[in-house]
Symmetry: C2
Subunit: 208 residues, 2 copies
């Protein structure tokens, strides 16, 4: 995973050193998100992206060697933006179940505002499988870290493992697909509250 | 959704009336699963599929008008096969948590034996979005039916709704991605047992 300071793995040799360069890179990534999101990888074109970004074609090639490299950088950038958006929403440490609820609310809101994120990351399965796998493996690793902290704090039960992190990630991704991408007929807060209760006590009747 | 008796929506006007015709259609669908799974939709070819199936090109066109129509039929067929595989594993009615555990075990095993199912259904998001959405909406509807039955039986708590079905579906899909497609380092039974406990009591400490 790249860090927020080096936003584009694919452009790692060409990370801009000036504020102006960083702004141009940001414009190219934002334009690429719209172009790839609307047209898909195969139909998207470098000239379509530079046209949307308002940059010259030559400028594009000072940042990226190819459409493929830009796509890889964009997947890493979106993965980072999901991570930093959730991180900013969390702020100072919260109680473990609050953390999961706030993280999911932030993710659902981000997906509503950036509906293209699903299509682009999903298309990475075909265009750039390494980035696709990296996105989910690193997301699951972050969730597992939170589970371990919740265990240590005594809020979560012991014995939580990688499979729990993948289960929670799957839950979050599919709630996003249903309630952020395909419809917004329930608020992000309502959906995250349901997920929180699911995490707290599953779907069993529990102890009466 | 098509029913098991009409396996291919896309070929609904050409459903074979003879046993021999049904066998040929099955061979074409199985060959298509391999071809699309290995090459992806765009690189896959009708001649590649008929070659694998051992059928003549003319035979193909008595069943399907195009590669697109075959792809749509294949997504519906795989969706049906997941459903019938899980249905057969369930057999006579089980207790609600047993039902979820057996259903997930059967799904994880099916995905291990047919790893191409993920790639094909995921590619439908781009090639045939209606089939993609239909697959997940009908799967979630089946899970919601099971949740309602579990509520009625007293095993599941009241108030379960569509979001719970999507959460469980997401959990199952991502456990399959991690433990059937990307690796098989835990048995299907072990993974399904973890998911069952997650459903039974979430990740909270619960009542001491």
């Amino acid at each position: 995973m790249s860090t927020p300071e080096t936003p584009a793995d694919g452009a790692s040799g060409k990370t801009p050193r000036t504020e102006r360069g960083r702004r141009t890179l940001r414009k190219l990534l934002d334009a690429a998100a719209i172009e790839f999101g609307e047209k898909g990888f195969h139909e998207a074109s470098v000239t379509g992206i530079t046209g949307r970004a308002g940059t010259a074609l030559g400028t594009f090639y000072t940042y990226f060697d190819s459409k493929d490299e830009l796509f890889r950088a964009l997947v890493n950038d979106l993965s980072d933006r999901v991570r930093t958006t959730v991180g900013q929403a969390l702020g100072p440490p919260l109680a473990p179940f609050d953390t999961e609820e706030v993280a999911l609310t932030a993710f659902l809101r981000f997906a509503r505002e950036h509906k293209e994120v699903y299509r682009i990351i999903d298309e990475a399965e075909f265009v750039d499988p390494g980035s696709y796998r990296n996105h989910y493996e690193s997301t699951a690793a972050r969730i597992l870290d939170r589970l371990k902290r919740g265990e240590d704090s005594g809020a979560f039960r012991g014995g939580l493992e990688e499979a729990h992190a993948w289960a929670i990630m799957g839950m979050n991704v599919f709630l996003g697909l249903r309630y952020s991408i395909w419809s917004e007929d329930d608020s992000a807060e309502e959906v995250a509250a349901i997920a929180r209760t699911f995490l707290e006590r599953g779907i069993g009747k529990g102890v009466a």
